[in-house]
Symmetry: C2
Subunit: 198 residues, 2 copies
């Protein structure tokens, strides 16, 4: 073949793609997934409409790519004491979920995954990651003696992250530190904290 065997991307193509993905994220955050259409994204990105069809020939893969780009830099590398580390991580996660962009991506992910197998795969990958990280933290806590008995990771992640999701996504509210403390006390009962809290 001619030259670049897909080792590196043409800078012009990269620029356009980058600009359009950014524009798509802005539009998603400000006007919802219905606004993420080739025409609007191209206009927002300052790019010609035809370019959108050239980079994403199959229309709505654009939205899928946007959501595939969102990573979750949370709950990585558990550190002792696990409880304090977890408190910080949940704090960050809750703050991120309260972001307009995060709210939009989360609800869009849940929504479109219901009828789009590709997005469903992405959603499952994200929840799997989250569950695995929580479970890893739990294992560290048990090894360090901070936690007496392991729990079903499915239950644990639901009890820890579920309330954050409820507050931010359904109630459109914020999460205060007290709730996070409660969550950890309840879902992550320590040998010392037996009864109800302070």
């Amino acid at each position: 073949m001619s030259r670049t065997d897909s080792a590196t991307e043409d800078p012009r193509r990269a620029r356009s793609r980058e600009a359009m993905v950014g524009a798509a994220m802005r539009l998603l955050a400000s006007a919802g997934p219905g606004a993420v259409t080739p025409a609007r994204v191209a206009a927002e990105a300052g790019v010609h409409r035809a370019t959108a069809y050239r980079l994403w020939p199959d229309a709505d893969k654009l939205l899928a790519e946007v959501m595939a780009e969102t990573e979750l830099p949370f709950l990585r590398d558990p550190v002792t004491p696990v409880r304090a580390w977890l408190r910080g991580c949940l704090r960050e996660l809750a703050d991120d979920l309260a972001t307009p962009l995060s709210r939009s991506t989360t609800t869009t992910l849940m929504q479109t995954a219901l009828h789009d197998a590709r997005v469903a795969t992405r959603r499952d990958a994200l929840t799997d990651t989250l569950r695995a990280r929580i479970d890893a933290a739990q294992n560290v806590a048990v090894a360090e003696g901070e936690l007496v008995d392991r729990q079903d990771p499915d239950h644990l992640v639901a009890m820890l992250v579920g309330p954050l999701l409820y507050r931010t996504t359904l109630e459109a509210a914020t999460v205060d530190d007290t709730l996070i403390d409660h969550l950890i006390d309840r879902a992550f009962p320590s040998p010392s904290t037996t009864g109800h809290k302070r």
Copy 2:
């Protein structure tokens, strides 16, 4: 005015409206909110396209009306013992949330409420109802001596319903009875159940 001063609705109009709302719910459940468009709903309902515009002149109010019709017949009238009653209610709620229609309406509600004030009002009304009911149950439990200290209703509803939402809507999974038991044990600590459970 001529005859019916809006006391009763013309049966033909009622039939059309009913058929279209049903069709809209079916479409919402099977193909997402993007499919709930006047043309598709009319076709699904076996009604002419123009009729859609006659009944809902302002286009997308149809979807709003569909979501406004969804009631939540859960957690009403707390009964003692509150813990057992609550277990049953959360079981019903979790089963309902796992329904395709409920999944779609829930995610659509969260999604569109972000950029539609009318739907946001509806969402707030629903969460307010849920919170009030949980709080009422809590008060009954305290009065009956099943619960020692009241909690912030915001926290309580998040800790009880959040995990169900996480499991059904984000993980697209079901909720087993063990999780519900854990939730109640943790979020609704009884005087007898002090430490960790059985």
